[in-house]
Amino acid sequence: MILSTMKKIFKISLSMTLLMAAGMGCDNELPTYYTFSSYEFSSLDEDGGTWQPILFGSASDIVVDAPAAVNSTAYQAELAELKSATQNLSGSQADAVEYWTNNPIIRWNEIALELAAKYNLIPPPNPDGTYTLPSAANPAGPPPFPFAHPPYTSRMLAYLSVAQFDGLIAAWHYKYQFNRPAPYVTDASIPYAYTKNSLPSYPSDGAVIAIASRDVLKAMFPLEHEYLNGLAEEHLNSLKWSGSNTTSDIEAGIVIGTAVKTAALARASTDKMSSAQTPKPVSDAIKQAAIDRFGWWWDNQESPVRPVGLTPLFGQVTMWNVPNVVDVRPVPPPAPGTPEFEEAAQELKDMAKNLTHEQRKIANWWSDGLGTYTPPGHWNRRTKEYIVKYQMNPLRAARTFAYLNMAVMDAGIACWDAKYYYHYPRPIQTMQGFKTILGTPNFPSYTSGHSTFSAAAAEVLAYIFPAEANVVRDWALEAAESRICAGIHYRFDSEAGITQGKAVATYTIARAQADGAD
């Protein structure tokens, strides 16, 4: 009896397990970074050292000493050391070589996006209903510093990309000035992990990227020093494990990386970001100015009410390429109550009532809200994929990111100027009881940030990747539409944002066209 029961239970358990296995299959491994391998660069941009940097007069403003001769004892010792470093890689060393690839700009951009998502958390209310804001002076908080919202993230990415770009222009300048061949050219017994090319190895472009990226990100994310130091150390080591660079190549790269991060952070320290998040009296005065000018105003609708909107003075932060933010300020939105307004409001109500699956999907696809890499991050991610698709070398990749992120940050500044100049109320404020499918952000409605960021990004990408122009412009329009689908912007917010973003990008592109790279 006992035995037969046991058998029965065993048989049932077995068949149940088989049923489960058949039904569920195995979960696919989900991607946590962009999977690509070392690739052949479509061009080496041998004249890259002559391009116009962003923060320096020219590449030679950064001084790098001449390297030891290839046949010198010192360099021969370095080659011997490198050869030994490439032998018998451990599993984790080989993984690091595979991960960082020959275009590590991609990885540092991903790391920046990951930190943006990690820190893109809005400060919670205190038990008494007040809010404590993140403080650079006390980064541990709570709440932790920073709150990596879209303006913060746009700025973080701009400084990161500009530092990388200027650093690589200097690296290219000295590479082709000193023409030290790659280690595997001088010593054929040294293996090289990536696709071979004729790029000179001194100074190491990888080291420039590692140091510039590490140090800009450390300034932007002060609680992540240990994490970033670890990544940079692995990256620098991988330059040897992969056979890319000797010690002196790397040391020269570190000199450049340090110089560009210093210049980038010097600009950042005086760009007026530190006063963008205002105290309440300043915020109230900005609101009163809009009431006096237009008769309408925006109020935060959260409980408890947030006393100050997000970065009211981000519109005064120093722009990269637009001479004056007022140059790209849109015309006023229609006043609440006018037929034009009512039409836009009615569209939102109708859409909310009959939302299609496609509209819901568009709203969510571009949501890029709290806890994510933000719209600037979304566009960086797509840019990264194009950089690999078009097999850009690190300098070209850095240039692409630099102009993209300068345009995106300028778009954010322009958009924030309009947001707080017009101080326009959101749909949930003007329409009693209106419900949305995404949370309404803590800043005024006009113009739409998604639309402005996206139009600026799309125009830069259309300039750099002309074959993709239609695709990226359609994406920008979809991103703009997504905010209407979600119920958090009126159509005129999105349309004005697209126009404004395009206007910003014309300045960015004009500068890019003059930098010597075209």
Binding site: M24, E114, L370, G371, T436
Partner: protein, 305 residues
């Protein structure tokens, strides 16, 4: 119908896992017996656990999940029953501006097998096994917690049940289940789960469930009463980050106590297949779930086919 429908809408965002414990008693339909049931369930909370921290959020206010559950059970043989449930869910909250949703959630089908039923004088011991499968009935968005209809993934539950009945009056029952869950497709191409994920797919953590029940029969075996205690825990997953939205990858845990009653009109000739059910559950302890107070009730009708 003598089904114990312990429905706990206790997870913060989704009741997708509650059917893991839907069919967890020791009672079987006889061959060719069929039972139809219609139940209404309402779970509400105004506090939830953000990770392990119990918080209130005025932008949600009081959250309510209402579920209407049509259900059918059929006895293929005395020892094998099949079960089917298609819950219709509606969610809303009193605070904030996020829209609630409504619609059919998951199709749940189960097979219940009675392995042992043995009488020792007036005592009885029984053991059962249940296999259950759930799959979304529509393209509802799981990544809209806490409002989402469910977890938006296929789920397979294996359950073992043991019961000992004293004098046919009082019984104790214990059951344990493991819920295998797949991935859910969301509508954003990136999310953070202790790191970046560049995909629209989310892993929904597997879970286990244990239940302990003390029950008894009163009023000449017409009224069944049960006190229930159970734990439903994800085996892994991340915590809701500070003041952030929950998501299907979260590690959801809930410890619940409840009370259940079912009255059978066995002796009332014209309605002898009828019973009424009422129950109440309270989440006592949790993680990444709402502190739900839940009540429900309904009607069942059983006859031989």
């Amino acid at each position: 119908m003598k089904k114990h429908l312990l429905i706990s809408a206790f997870c913060l965002g989704a009741t997708g896992w509650m059917y893991g414990q839907t069919f967890s008693d020791a009672v079987m339909m006889k061959k060719q017996e069929i039972c139809f049931a219609l139940l209404y369930d309402q779970g509400s909370w105004d506090q939830y656990w953000e990770g392990t921290q119990l918080i209130t959020n005025e932008n949600i206010g009081t959250f309510t999940r209402s579920t209407v559950m049509p259900m059918v059970v059929y006895g293929i043989t005395d020892k094998i029953n099949v079960l089917l449930v298609t819950p219709y869910v509606k969610t809303q909250s009193t605070g904030g501006q996020l829209a609630g949703v409504q619609g059919f959630q998951d199709l749940n089908v189960g097979i219940k097998y009675e392995i042992i039923k043995k009488d020792f004088g007036k005592h009885r011991i029984s053991a059962l096994a249940v296999a259950q499968f759930a799959t979304p009935l529509s393209n509802y968005l799981s990544d809209y917690m806490p409002y989402s209809l469910g977890l938006g993934t296929q789920q397979l539950t294996g359950r073992a049940i043991g019961q000992y009945e004293f004098n046919k009056m009082i019984y104790v029952r214990a059951s344990g289940a493991y819920v295998l869950r797949g991935q859910t497709e969301v509508e954003r191409p990136y999310y953070y789960n202790n790191g970046s994920y560049y995909t629209t797919m989310m892993d929904v953590p597997n879970a286990y469930n244990v239940q302990a029940i003390l029950g008894g029969w009163v009023l000449k075996h017409n009224l069944r009463l049960e006190a229930t205690y159970q734990i439903m825990n994800s085996v892994d997953g991340d915590d809701i980050r500070r003041w952030n939205m929950p998501q299907p990858t979260n590690k959801m845990e809930a410890t619940t106590a409840g009370f259940f009653a079912q009255y059978y009109f066995k002796t009332v000739e014209p309605i002898k297949g009828l019973s009424l059910i009422g129950y109440f559950n309270q989440v006592l302890k949790g993680r990444n779930v709402g502190k739900t107070t839940e009540f429900g009730g309904g009607i069942t009708y059983q006859f031989t086919f």
